[in-house]
């Protein structure tokens, strides 16, 4: 609750500070301070203290799972601000609004991570999506950005329509939007509506998290959006929607038999296949990352496929690892003058720190041990193994993980093993230290994952 209200207030505060403060650095600092406050307040709530106590009529339910994810999302956003706030201020003139929108998105994130009613799920998803449409198109003069925004918008609202139809059918079948009620009456009456509704809901959520075959908008949108915002979209937002999906699956699907498992497995496999195979053929690192985010979504789908304690723990860990690494990579990518693989040639010589930290991030994304990314993938695979059915999916996933090595390492090859003089924007030493810090955290958590895992028992 703390996070939901405070993030909304902070969003408003930033909107207004945009009116009264014209200094960009000041705005940036306000945003960062707000983010710290938000994180602090959420951690306070994790320890049992609520600043705002609102009767939500059980539409929201704040459990450890959601709160922990919030903390991770906020921490990742804080990191993102620290790394990229300066680049955010360069996108256009409406600096305060960009930050404000991000805070509103975080409000949606907090909603999605704790919904207990389909109404809140819908609101959360929309509060996330609508600001994202704006952020995608925030580079107003850039045609690519415009088109990305339009495409994202049309796809997003279309999937919203489908989601609403699904919710309406579920409501028709069950007479309630509350997940508890739905789960309690899972096999009573009007099954046809209920399952049709669930299917539509699933499809729309698949749209939102870009699961194949509903992924086609993702690469174009991620590519067209200003790179700083792509970073945010691809990490925190995506993870948040997944968390929402996991909640949904956990409560509804897990109680409604196992018929859906094969379908989810097929979706997962398709996502992995499309994401990984297409990523190989990309010439631009940004597009490659877009496809890789689809591939990563495929791995996160494992949490849905195998609903058990492992998958819930794993998805949090995955969100953490994936967000850290991707935020880091994008922060570096924003600084690059040329987004193609050739643009990275010889980065190790011109910017050794950037190259080294990027390597760590890529290794983490590829799931190489000693990085948090490994444990993320480990949990996903382990949960699927534990659930016991459809083991072919696990093998398919590791094949795809191996494929992913191919394109992630292509960046490493460019940076270290190829001749060239990669050009970057000027990079401050603070930025470098921060990247080193992130890389250190990734490795540290990769070696001692217990530091996070101990919080993960639900």
């Amino acid at each position: 609750m703390n996070a939901i209200i405070l993030s909304a207030i902070l969003g408003v505060v930033l909107m207004f500070s945009g009116i009264f403060v014209s200094n960009k650095v000041m705005l940036k600092n306000i945003a960062i301070a707000g983010m710290v406050l938000l994180l602090a307040v959420n951690i306070i709530e994790m320890n049992g203290f609520r600043v705002f106590d609102v009767n939500t009529r059980n539409m929201l339910q704040f459990n450890r799972f959601g709160l922990l994810f919030n903390s991770i999302a906020f921490a990742a956003t804080l990191l993102y601000f620290l790394l990229s706030a300066r680049d955010i201020t360069r996108v256009g003139i409406n600096v305060a609004e960009y930050f404000a929108l991000i805070f509103f998105i975080l409000c949606g994130v907090a909603l999605v991570s704790s919904f207990n009613s389909l109404l809140m799920l819908f609101l959360g998803i929309e509060i996330i999506s609508i600001p994202l449409y704006i952020l995608t198109g925030s580079d107003k003069r850039n045609l690519k950005s415009n088109e990305a925004a339009l495409k994202y918008f049309l796809m997003g609202t279309f999937s919203t329509g489908i989601m609403l139809m699904g919710i309406a059918l579920i409501y028709g079948a069950k007479g309630s939007f509350s997940l508890d009620t739905i789960a309690a009456t899972i096999n009573q009456g009007r099954d046809a509506w209920f399952y049709a509704g669930l299917l539509l809901l699933l499809i729309s959520m698949a749209f939102k998290v870009s699961v194949a075959p509903f992924h086609f908008w993702t690469p174009d949108v991620y590519d067209g959006a200003p790179t700083v915002f792509t970073s945010f979209m691809a990490t925190i937002v995506k993870a948040a929607v997944f968390i929402g999906l996991v909640r949904l699956f956990d409560i509804i699907f897990a109680t409604s038999g196992t018929d859906w498992k094969l379908m989810v497995a097929v979706l997962t496999a398709a996502t992995l296949l499309v994401g990984n195979i297409t990523a190989i053929f990309q010439q631009s690192v940004k597009r490659m990352l877009a496809y890789s985010s689809i591939a990563q979504a495929g791995f996160m789908m494992f949490a849905l496929f195998s609903i058990n304690s492992y998958s819930k723990e794993g998805i949090i860990l995955y969100a953490l690892g994936y967000s850290l690494a991707t935020v880091g990579i994008f922060a570096v990518l924003v600084k690059m003058k040329d987004y193609t693989f050739e643009g990275f040639n010889g980065l190790a010589r011109t910017q050794p720190v950037l190259a080294a930290t990027t390597t760590v991030f890529l290794l983490s994304l590829a799931g190489i041990p000693l990085t948090i990314g490994f444990f993320a993938k480990y949990f996903m695979l382990a949960s699927a193994v534990k659930s016991g059915s459809h083991l072919w999916l696990v093998f398919f996933a590791i094949l795809m993980a191996v494929v992913s090595v191919y394109y992630y390492f292509r960046v490493i090859q460019s940076m270290y093993f190829k001749e060239g003089a990669a050009e970057t924007e000027p990079v401050s030493s603070g930025f470098r230290w921060l990247l080193i810090g992130v890389a250190a955290v990734i490795i540290l958590l990769g070696i001692f994952p217990n530091m996070v895992l101990q919080y993960l028992y639900f």
């Binding site: 041990p369 193994v385 090595v405 270290y416």
Partner: protein, 485 residues
């Protein structure tokens, strides 16, 4: 205590080396660190030879019930000794090699040493998997950064292959984890009694990883290219130590853990091993490149060890364990020679060389001894190992084709002798040519390195017993699990 030191010394030194720019200083530190770990290892085998010093068991990932559990049993001791012995020799024998960013080169080498040692000592599957990868990643960077012309494509192939294998292994380990009731401990794994289907699934997954690493025909295709393209010190690690990881895996994590499946699939893998041996030997005969020749000969030798594992008997397993050490030492000697030749003449083509014996007599003498050991002449260390392995294969009750395997093995030994001697003949005897006319003998560091190897070869060849006694426990245990005792 000893395990922790063994891991931390190379790890910390390796990391520190990234900060040390002076080349000479970096080389000295790397050599010193490797010598210190050798000293620790030797101490562990002598004065600290007790359970308290040789095991280390601390909680690591509580959530997964995984522990920092290292132990140095007999096989681990042998392999760690091989590792700690190889590294000083590698560093010292390649003292004069020049690489850009030499400090990083050495740092990565030491990191991979830490990984290798960790693999050999881990008694926890998660930990094992970790070090398995830690050993791999530095080698990938080493080969990609300092390798030959086609290094980028070749090393990514190498990495992808081994990564694929290790992921399969991971799945296998995860399955074992759940079977063992949420434990990664090796001690729990070897107590498991699983249904045949489950055992088979796990066996196949683990075996794939090890087969790629060893490498076993037909998973070997990455190996000759990688050996050829990597800088020679890296090749030394790859063939002398890393290839042993696979066999080590078979002996530690496969045969005792899924004995029934190992027994059941033994003939298939043994056949593959035999095919691989013959294939590699024939290919090696036609090689003109020194590195490739040694690489294929390595496949052949490794194949023999695989054969002995999959056609098990007490003698065979004992042979495999000491042969792991012996082959590591021998192949290291071969690579040192290759390195010297490459450094001196800038070529590895056998056809371009000749008459070195006149110019470099010391090198020739030492090489001949190493080469004889490599083809398992009596009195050398490899003879002991290979003899025991043949003996074991012939006497194995696990297979009906022991004789056929042994015959094939003998053929490869003979072929090995043919191509090794032919190589020696071409390179060291015959007429000198323009390239080798002005050759000089090897420098002191290479002489010393080769001399140490030769001493080790002869010593083990004459007194193998202490080594055999080290590994008898494990051999017994494996056979016990497979009901073959």
């Amino acid at each position: 205590m000893v395990p922790v030191l063994l891991i931390l010394i190379p790890l910390i030194t390796g990391a520190a080396l990234f900060a040390i720019r002076q080349e000479a200083m970096a080389k000295s530190i790397a050599l010193l660190a490797s010598l210190v770990s050798l000293a620790v290892m030797l101490a562990g085998m002598s004065v600290w030879n007790d359970a308290a010093h040789l095991t280390y068991n601390q909680s690591w990932i509580g959530a997964l019930n995984s522990r920092f559990h290292f132990a140095l049993d007999g096989m681990s001791q042998l392999l760690c000794l091989l590792t700690t012995l190889s590294f000083p020799i590698i560093f010292y024998s390649t003292w004069n090699n020049q690489y850009p960013d030499h400090n990083r080169f050495l740092g990565l080498m030491l990191l991979s040493q830490a990984g290798l040692l960790g693999v050999f000592m881990s008694m926890d599957a998660m930990l094992f998997y970790f070090f398995w990868e830690l050993a791999l990643i530095p080698l990938y960077f080493l080969s990609s950064r300092w390798g030959g012309e086609k290094r980028i494509q070749v090393t990514i192939k190498f990495f992808v292959y081994t990564f694929l294998g290790s992921l399969f292994m991971l799945i296998g380990l995860i399955m074992l984890y759940f079977k063992a009731g949420g434990s990664f401990a090796w001690a729990d794994f070897v107590k498991l009694n699983m249904a045949p289907r489950e055992e088979m699934a796990i066996f196949l997954m683990l075996a794939l990883a090890f087969a790629i690493k060893m490498p076993l025909f037909p998973f070997h295709t990455w190996q000759p290219d990688t050996y050829e393209q990597s800088p020679t010190p890296v090749t030394m690690i790859l063939s002398a130590i890393m290839a042993k990881m696979g066999i080590f895996g078979l002996l530690r994590w496969l045969a005792p853990v899924v004995p029934a499946a190992t027994y059941q699939w033994g003939d298939n893998f043994a056949t593959l091993a035999v095919v691989g041996m013959l294939y590699a030997s024939f290919i090696a005969m036609r090689q003109d490149d020194l590195k490739k020749l040694v690489a294929y000969s390595s496949i052949a030798h490794i194949g023999l060890m695989i054969l002995a594992v999959f056609a098990p008997s007490y003698s065979g397993l004992q042979g495999v364990m000491i042969q792991m050490f012996n082959h590591g030492i021998n192949i290291l000697g071969m690579w040192i020679v290759v390195n010297v030749i490459e450094q001196k003449f800038g070529t590895r083509k056998i056809s371009e060389l000749g008459g070195l014996a006149q110019k470099a007599p010391v090198l020739t003498i030492l090489l001949v001894i190493v080469a004889l050991a490599n083809i398992a002449m009596p009195l050398t260390n490899a003879f002991i190992g290979e003899f025991m392995m043949f003996n074991g294969v012939l006497g194995s009750t696990a297979t009906n084709f022991g004789v056929a395997y042994a015959v094939a093995g003998i053929i490869t030994i003979i072929l090995g002798a043919v191509y090794t001697l032919k190589m020696i003949q071409k390179v060291f005897y015959g007429e000198t040519n323009a390239l080798t006319a002005n050759a000089t003998d090897i420098s002191f560091n290479v002489q010393l390195s080769l001399a140490i190897i030769v001493v080790a070869i002869l010593l083990i060849g004459l007194f193998p017993n202490p080594m055999l006694s080290l590994t008898s426990d494990l051999s017994e245990q494996i056979l016990g699990r497979m009901n073959l005792k």
